[in-house]
Symmetry: C2
Subunit: 291 residues, 2 copies
């Protein structure tokens, strides 16, 4: 069993970006600039946004963090997006989800200028990804593909089972893995809450992407020998023994699954840092495409 070390590979990616940014500076060009919008003060969202801002600092990107009260109106938020769209210094815009209930995620995402849609959640970005046209691929599935690529895992002809059909992970990774690309070219089965025989399907899989958000649902008896396991789940589970009061749990019961598989992503240190690395790559692309 080999660990797919998201922490290490994301560091490689950030190091490479840092060199490219230094080159831009040498050439007198502008550096990539990510604007992150955080509404309210959800603990997990704070953590994610802070990690993104920190990654910008590490790679030499400029970043702007815009914090807004969770009582902000939808219109006011749309105005903020509008201002970022027209700010020529801003290359990428990300709005940390989820938004408060009185605000439509869809309206806000669709308001982002598609040339700055570094989260890849705009319908036109999704549509291009489906059609195999160059675009911003959502950060988590993009990060997973980068990880498979980095470890030179030849996925062609593999049977991949994706558990979860969310717009931000399950759906796009099922599309990417089944595309005529490398990595890719998998036969892909997408499973969800209505799937009847999840265990039997997972047992057929050469590669499983667990993206249900249900701590440790993927147990040892659901995985065949030498499967590749990608764990997207990251749930805060109360744990009195921790200083923070919680432990982070993936969707995979690591102690049972790890001994059986060929490759596995840990939680934390797997898909999470790769997501951030992919976001950095998208922001760099936004900057380069524009200039």
């Amino acid at each position: 069993m080999q660990i797919l070390d998201g922490l290490l590979i994301s560091q490689h990616i950030k190091d490479a970006l840092k060199l490219q940014v230094a080159q831009l500076v040498t050439e007198g060009k502008k550096v990539p600039h990510l604007a992150a919008v955080l509404v309210g003060n959800n603990g997990a969202s704070e953590t994610y946004v802070n990690a993104k801002v920190k990654a910008c600092a590490e790679t030499g990107f400029k970043s702007t963090l815009i914090r807004l009260e969770d009582t902000i109106s939808e219109n006011r938020l749309l105005n903020v997006i509008g201002e970022l769209n027209t700010d020529i210094d801003v290359d990428g815009i990300l709005v940390q989800l989820p938004l408060p209930k009185h605000i439509s995620d869809e309206k806000v995402i669709n308001a982002i200028d598609i040339s700055k849609d570094v989260d890849g959640f705009h319908p036109i970005s999704i549509g291009k990804m489906v059609q195999g046209i160059s675009t911003f691929v959502p950060a988590t599935p993009h990060g997973i593909m980068l990880l498979l690529e980095h470890y030179k895992i030849d996925t062609r002809g593999m049977h991949a089972v994706v558990v979860g059909r969310s717009n931000i992970v399950g759906r796009p990774i099922s599309i990417l893995l089944s595309s005529n690309t490398n990595p890719g070219n998998c036969t892909v089965t997408i499973c969800h809450s209505q799937t009847k025989n999840l265990r039997e399907l997972c047992l057929q899989a050469d590669l499983i992407v667990a993206a249900l958000g249900k701590p440790e649902f993927l147990t040892g008896d659901m995985v065949k020998e030498n499967a590749i396991i990608i764990d997207v789940g990251i749930t805060r589970v109360p744990d009195a023994s921790k200083k923070s009061g919680f432990a982070l749990k993936g969707d995979v019961k690591f102690s049972e699954v790890a001994p059986k598989c060929s490759y596995i992503t840990p939680v934390p240190g797997g898909v999470g840092p790769m997501t951030i690395a992919a976001l950095m790559k998208n922001t760099f692309k936004a900057c380069i495409d524009k200039n």
Copy 2:
């Protein structure tokens, strides 16, 4: 075994649209207007476009058929699209594919105003479909969903195997069938040229969508008892006994598969006419949304 009668159901849909169009006329409103662009004179393309124009006549839609030489430049074709985009009388634009090799399908499709994209091939239409937002769904997968709906087939929890990953059929139907809708909510496996154990996967399926464009590849030994079979293939196979010189073959070996399954679409008279009915529904929607 019951035939899923696309000819009959498409007629019901067209009859319902005809009544709705008559109502528009009574109210003094404009009727839906479909503009079809045909480049060159490929035999199959001629047949498809003529069937669409005929369906417009049957339902009381206005139609315009624009025939262009296959030597037309890409720029000239883009200008034609531009004119149709700005023509306020035109509600829907379809460009019959394939286009000659010197013209980019992508550029031409992307040039269509999204409010007139009744074929649903524009990336923004595809992206919205993926995200479950109201949009134009490509005609063939839309027609399949209408057929399942009409026969009140409860697909929830079924394992659907889609064979083929094209942008116009396999990919979108795999997304629709796995969406949280009814019909829908299937566990979906998408197969393609790199799939290794197609027979074993098909044998697990409660529902098979055969969309590979390979005549009669789905044989009786690949189908379990009581499966539902949707045959999207329609290939012209040379046949000296026919006046036309060819016979139309589906992707399914009907004589072997039909006795085993619960429902099956025939070729012709299955998915083909449903595709046209779905295009008519999309064009009606384009007209209503605009006015």
